[in-house]
Symmetry: C2
Subunit: 355 residues, 2 copies
């Protein structure tokens, strides 16, 4: 029996992605070969890569002066690659600290130039997205994390901050329409809304290719990926195919506006129950609540383990909160059906009655 997968990532993908991936492992499109054994220079993989890039461009309405790159190493690798490629030693990168991921990004950046955390909600358990801060217009860029998986907050607005903007969208990319033109660089590990783990998407404004003047290693140079259409070295063929299948599903459903409506509906349903049910309390400030990662705790400490046990017969999986927050985290990524949220809400109501 299929579980309701609320895991924070690697996370649920559409059921048809699982089925089509399985078929491709056996025989890709009837060519007599598994997708796992075909060359990254084959016409089959060339078509997979081109269609993936084309769907990303159309779904996100990416302007022409941007490049779409596929890299390995996850968002963590980008914490290094961004300053390595963009920041000159004498320049400053600004950060809004909203989670441990932005902390990591800032720490890595120190190796390459100057950094400044211009706003942080760390002292208040990252419960909100800071709103009052001053942006130094001489900075090379400002880095934000649009969705914060551990603490469940999210930026919903594509703002102009007066400096080039870099955004880690690992956990909410493709969950809503985005005005890409507001960003110089967007990056995202695939394993939430895009595909299985092992690939990272980078969308970069072409004028930023080759920006930092340091001598660069080939594999750490965005220009090399841009020039070689992400084929300078062997990419993870199967992983990129799972992205293509997910993008096709997104496109077929109607794209990002439809997806945003679905995600809003799921989040509304679950937050309503958290707010109504006296046994549960939400973590994040109401105005900054993430649609992707919905974090809540039990009002009575002793209920925490009980509720985790209680939901098991409901086939609910992956709602245990991150170790630093405790409680529960219901990740409601694109592929999670609203039926799964309904089951969780039912379990919360049944728990209340049973108490």
């Amino acid at each position: 029996m299929k579980k309701h997968n609320f895991g924070a990532g690697p996370s649920i993908l559409p059921q048809e992605v699982f089925e089509q991936s399985a078929q491709a492992c056996l025989d890709y499109n009837g060519i007599g070969l598994s997708l796992l054994e075909i060359s990254h220079r084959s016409k089959e993989f060339t078509a997979i890569l081109e269609e993936s890039i084309s769907l990303i461009k159309s779904l996100l309405n990416v302007p022409d002066d941007y490049s779409i790159l596929f890299l390995q190493g996850g968002a963590n690798m980008q914490f290094n690659m961004i300053p390595y490629n963009i920041l000159n030693e004498e320049e400053t990168a600004l950060f809004i600290e909203t989670d441990i991921w932005s902390t990591r990004a800032e720490e890595e950046t120190r190796l390459y130039g100057k950094t400044s955390i211009i706003a942080s909600s760390k002292a208040d358990q990252f419960k909100y997205i800071p709103k009052d801060f001053t942006v130094d217009k001489d900075a090379a860029y400002l880095h934000i994390t649009s969705n914060n998986t551990i603490y469940g907050t999210e930026f919903f607005e594509d703002r102009d901050y007066g400096v080039p903007l870099v955004c880690d969208m690992s956990s909410d990319i493709f969950s809503r329409p985005v005005d890409v033109s507001k960003y110089h660089l967007i990056y995202a590990g695939a394993q939430k809304n895009l595909g299985c783990s092992g690939i990272t998407l980078v969308i970069i404004k072409n004028e930023w290719l080759g920006r930092a003047k340091r001598a660069k290693s080939k594999m750490w140079d965005y220009s090399v990926y841009a020039k070689n259409n992400s084929l300078y070295n062997t990419p993870p063929v199967f992983t990129i195919y799972t992205c293509l299948l997910t993008l096709r599903w997104l496109n077929k459903l109607g794209g990002l506006q439809v997806m945003e409506q679905r995600n809003k509906a799921k989040a509304k349903l679950l937050y309503a129950e958290i707010d109504r049910n006296p046994l549960f309390t939400g973590h994040a400030a109401v105005e900054d609540r993430s649609r992707m990662n919905i974090n809540f705790v039990t009002t009575h400490a002793e209920d925490e383990d009980k509720f985790l046990e209680f939901v098991k017969p409901y086939q609910i999986h992956g709602i245990k909160g991150y170790r630093t927050v405790g409680g529960f985290r219901a990740s409601c990524y694109n592929a999670l059906p609203i039926e799964s949220v309904q089951v969780l809400v039912q379990a919360m109501q049944d728990f209340e009655k049973a108490r």
Copy 2:
């Protein structure tokens, strides 16, 4: 109908790996979740990682003072990561140049310290493995590429060169028993003998962790991988599982001595036909002929396209040679059955008769 896949990589894996990977995409071990949606912190993936490491250790008889790391980015990424982690600026790394991959490795190393190519067969189309050279015992290490995919030569001996040895075994790892103690660092992109593309294996002597004194980015620091058992960031879960399945298959067949016998038998069969058939000529020097990549050309230039066309009804796939060499490259990695080689030999004989 299943093709005979002689592709150079990503390349054939055992049929049972395709089947078990497909099943895991649908439902992993009956847990009600696809392998593509499970957490890298789950007990399921922890078991996959631990069994993979354990099988690598036992199959290669890895001494206790080595670490087994899984990284992303392929061998190309290691061309940077090795000098970044090992070579101090004032030190020298030595190279034996036997293919464009060793050239790339040497070029990247220049960013981090001094380099010296102590032997090269480049001037003679990389037809042989250089044997006469002097190793400067003050060097930090010597780098070799054990198997050369494009030109079809291979080092078969685990030699002591008097300096620490680094080896790119991307295309022949697990094809024969290896005396790991002779090497300080072995690395290999998975996509030949280990699994599907998207993961790189690094086997490093512990005393080398943290060797180079430069400040390092977390994701480019072997010590971080060693300390976190390759789980500092999200690894490619599915890709590592394909490695585990391939390692299990290897183990079940009897390990690396059995594999070496199989590979010797396949290579012997095909080289014998190349040497017998007047229409074909081998590329590499006889004493350095690779068992993994068997390169040959047609004696008459006009036969090249004809033979490529001729083999199609035999369901032979992927034998076109690399663009810089031309002719044919029959890659005979571990998972290629001897029956596929027999079919190719038959096609060569039929081609001779039909001419």
